[in-house]
């Protein structure tokens, strides 16, 4: 939808944010992204949402100074701004004063320039470096004094006396190239500092020079267990911007595919968690059932992991003739599989001891850290977009939003296991009456999105996946930002792991269910 935003002056930003937080209960910072506005300077967009009233506010703050863009931090108001502001700093070099940890986040510490600036030349300034990436134990905090000078203060991340263990980037339980630097004391964790960017491909930067249909290919490669939903979100934002209404058939197909993808993701979650906890047999059980979903995908989409299915105005191919019967066969098999999982793993006393009461996040914490999806729902936060703002065919099906209240690892695990059941319910209701109609709307050969600012989100496998699109009317976007589902989860690791044992880091990481390519983009 078209994003209506309120411009805020940099001087008034912090006070305005504080007012919104206190008076209008805007407790959830949905996303924060930096923009290069050319002559105007640099801007930052904030989307705020109140979890009580559901009201949304968008703020846009522009600093005209291109030489030294400085904005006040809001990380003291919303915890998650800590990591979002680091991202904006990394991409655009916007300095947030008062932010306690102004390090780069995805790029190397010795990177020169800020790649999302339109005038930046990353290839010229950054030759291939053959030395190891430096990792400093200290960070910077900037303050703006009265006379306008910027002062820099050193903050300590890890003191020399800390015993720091590197979990990752090559580590079996980080599910990809994720790197945690963990300060431990005996077996107890004192601090977790995620080092990101090992699989950073600069997708947002790449998108700026691509046409809209080309962009679609990249979304599958972010959260590969949410390929359908990611691409759904991107297609949705472009369709809404262009005013294209897809047929009913496409809506239902997209809904079924999203749910199949969700089941796929949750089975993989179960398998990997079991593997992390040492239950290797449960791992194989999960993969056995997941194979069936991949087969269904393969028949219709031609791909198993990278699906390339949604397109602007429809889907790539019509459903395979076997699709309906195979999905119907799959539903009882999955129900039986779920029972097996519960018998083998959920009820196991060792598994229960490993998960119950481990890594508790309160509802306030998950909201402040923007942990949407199953992680948020395990702490009692009703954040399911399929219920809050139904899209496609979600308004015509019955299903429950699974929430728990304890917020421990076991709740996070159970949320996902129960969601598999709900997804099966949704598919069951839709599979028999997929409406007839075209599977692809007629689109112009060259797609140009009208000038404007748009944002659209879907409920991904592990939280709200949103796409922020700013168009200047060209055939490629001016700025695209993806609200990653995994970035807040990685940020929450520090809060959840502190005081727990090393073995719990694996449990907590497993139940957070982050996917690294989605974090790094």
């Amino acid at each position: 939808m078209n994003l209506q935003y309120t411009p805020v002056a940099p001087e008034a930003l912090h006070a305005e944010c504080l007012r919104l937080r206190e008076e209008e209960m805007m407790d959830f910072l949905v996303f924060l992204t930096g923009l290069d506005l050319g002559e105007e300077g640099f801007g930052v967009v904030y989307q705020l949402e109140s979890t009580q009233t559901g009201k949304q506010v968008n703020l846009r703050c522009v600093t005209p100074d291109r030489e030294r863009p400085v904005l006040p931090t809001v990380s003291d108001i919303w915890d998650i701004a800590n990591i979002y502001e680091r991202e904006a700093y990394d991409y655009l070099g916007i300095i947030f004063t008062g932010h306690p940890d102004m390090r780069r986040i995805f790029l190397r510490e010795d990177w020169v320039g800020h790649p999302l600036r339109k005038d930046d030349k990353p290839e010229e300034q950054n030759p291939l470096r053959m030395d190891n990436e430096p990792l400093s134990d200290t960070t910077w905090q900037y303050e703006l004094s009265q006379d306008g000078t910027l002062t820099k203060r050193e903050n300590v991340v890890f003191a020399p006396s800390d015993y720091v263990v590197n979990i990752g980037p090559q580590h079996p339980s980080t599910h990809g190239v994720l790197h945690f630097r963990v300060a431990i004391e005996g077996e107890t964790i004192r601090r977790v500092d995620p080092v990101l960017g090992y699989i950073h491909r600069g997708i947002e930067k790449m998108n700026e020079s691509m046409t809209y249909p080309q962009m679609l290919a990249l979304t599958d490669r972010m959260d590969y267990l949410g390929a359908m939903q990611n691409r759904h979100a991107l297609c949705k934002v472009i369709e809404e911007a262009m005013g294209v209404e897809v047929s009913d058939r496409v809506k239902v197909i997209r809904t079924i595919m999203d749910e199949l993808q969700r089941i796929d993701s949750h089975i993989l979650f179960f398998s990997c968690l079991a593997q992390d906890l040492g239950a290797t047999t449960a791992f194989i059980y999960g993969f056995r059932d997941r194979e069936k979903i991949l087969d269904i995908f393969e028949e219709t989409c031609g791909g198993r992991l990278i699906l390339n299915y949604n397109t602007i105005g429809g889907v790539m191919h019509d459903l395979h003739p076997n699709f309906v019967s195979r999905v119907k066969e799959f539903i009882p098999v999955m129900r039986k599989g779920l029972k097996e999982y519960h018998d083998l793993f959920t009820g196991n006393v060792i598994a229960r001891n490993r998960m119950e009461g481990v890594g508790i996040l309160t509802k306030e914490q998950v909201i402040a850290m923007g942990c949407t999806g199953g992680t948020g729902r395990a702490s009692g936060w009703h954040n399911d977009l399929r219920k809050l703002r139904p899209y496609d065919a979600y308004d015509r099906v019955e299903f429950d939003e699974i929430t728990f209240t304890k917020g421990d690892s076991f709740s996070r695990y159970m949320v996902r296991m129960d969601e598999i059941e709900q997804s099966l319910r949704i598919i069951e209701q839709l599979i028999d009456n997929i409406p007839e109609g075209p599977f692809q709307e007629k689109m112009k050969p060259i797609i140009k999105v009208p000038e404007g600012v748009y944002y659209s989100a879907v409920e991904g496998s592990r939280g709200q996946f949103g796409v922020y699109l700013e168009s200047r009317g060209d055939k490629s976007p001016y700025r695209v930002h993806y609200r990653s589902t995994g970035l807040p989860l990685v940020y929450a690791m520090n809060a959840a792991c502190r005081g727990n044992l090393i073995a719990d880091l694996v449990t907590i990481g497993g139940t957070f269910d982050y996917i690294v390519p989605d974090i790094d983009r």
Partner: protein, 359 residues
């Protein structure tokens, strides 16, 4: 039952006939050493193959089936692969301790395997404190693991080694008390006598009824923990510490740890067989003389290996079903549950023996 001493005595007289006494004994020692080492290697390989197949069947898979019929040659391929790997020498390790560690582990296993009664008369080390000696030597391997963790000069191995130390030392208490329970019934620590007794009077697990069954169950848990196998495999818990104490090892040095793990598994099973399940003693059912006589025709070595492999299967079942415990849970399980239970069990056993209400 066939007495293996016939063969050993014949060999001894044969050798003394052609060689002086000392040379004969030396030759015999060398022969015995070769036999132990090859036995150990063969059983470790059999167990690795068995583990792969058993685990595959638990997990609805086929397991190795490409190299040779049913994947039988897979192991040889693996061993050759490991033999030709380079042993990487790393900077900043304590080279001496780093290289020494695998030998501690493998030597402990080799010596303990010599205590197992393979058949009547076929036992290499047999003296009056057999069980005690067995426990003492088997705990040397923890020194090897600690050295591996320390000598590697790396963080994961160090954490793994520390866990291993805490775990093995704790679980040895349970195993020790369980062994005491058995000794309480048998009245001897000599392994050959324990088996002889079971040959004439029935297997200990039947003789000692309830307390002996409890002791067997405790042994099944603690024995698994002693071998550092799942669900007690935290010293190497691959999802937390990559490979725990042997992260920094490569080639045959890693191979020694790997072999030792499976040898220890067999040794744990062998000890369980010896003290609970009658060692090489065949299954006798009181009153069925014909059946008992038929059972006697099956050689003792078949009984021993068969029973040991059955116990190994139980260990594998345990491993491939359960998730891994956490370090504090492991220590809680030992100190708060297993040890008190086994102590009470020992008292019960003592009462059973004192009042003579065992079979």
């Amino acid at each position: 039952m066939f007495d293996f001493t016939i063969i050993t005595n014949w060999l001894h007289t044969l050798l003394v006939g052609v060689l002086p006494e000392w040379a004969a004994v030396l030759t015999e020692s060398v022969l015995v050493a070769v036999v132990i080492i090859s036995l150990a290697a063969i059983f470790a390989m059999v167990l690795i193959y068995m583990e792969r197949k058993v685990c595959a069947f638990f997990q609805c898979r086929l397991g190795p089936n490409r190299v040779g019929k049913w994947g039988l040659l897979q192991l040889f391929a693996d061993v050759f692969k490991m033999l030709q790997k380079e042993i990487i020498k790393m900077r900043q390790t304590d080279r001496f301790l780093h290289d020494l560690a695998p030998f501690f582990v493998i030597t402990a296993s080799m010596i303990t395997i010599a205590c197992l009664p393979w058949n009547k008369g076929a036992q290499i080390l047999d003296f009056n404190i057999g069980v005690f000696f067995f426990l003492a030597v088997s705990s040397v391997s923890v020194v090897g693991i600690l050295l591996a963790g320390w000598g590697s000069n790396s963080k994961y191995p160090l954490i793994g080694a520390m866990r291993s130390g805490a775990q093995i030392i704790s679980y040895e208490i349970s195993i020790g008390i369980t062994m005491l329970t058995v000794i309480c019934l048998t009245g001897t620590m000599q392994i050959s006598e324990i088996v002889e007794q079971q040959y004439t009077e029935g297997w200990n697990i039947f003789r000692g009824h309830l307390p002996m069954v409890v002791a067997f169950l405790i042994y099944m848990i603690a024995g698994n923990a002693e071998c550092n196998r799942g669900p007690f495999d935290l010293p190497e818990s691959e999802s937390e510490l990559t490979a725990g104490y042997h992260t920094e090892y490569s080639g045959m040095h890693f191979g020694y740890f790997y072999l030792a793990e499976y040898m220890n598994l067999f040794i744990s099973a062998g000890l369980a067989t010896t003290v609970f399940l009658g060692g090489w003693a065949p299954l006798h059912i009181a009153g069925l003389d014909g059946f008992n006589h038929a059972m006697d025709y099956i050689p003792g070595v078949v009984w021993f290996v068969g029973k040991a492999l059955f116990v190994v299967f139980l260990f594998m079942w345990e491993r491939w079903t359960l998730p891994r415990l956490r370090i504090d849970h492991i220590l809680t399980l030992e100190w708060k549950y297993l040890m008190p239970i086994s102590l009470v069990n020992l008292v019960v056993m003592a009462l059973v023996v004192a009042f003579g209400i065992h079979f």
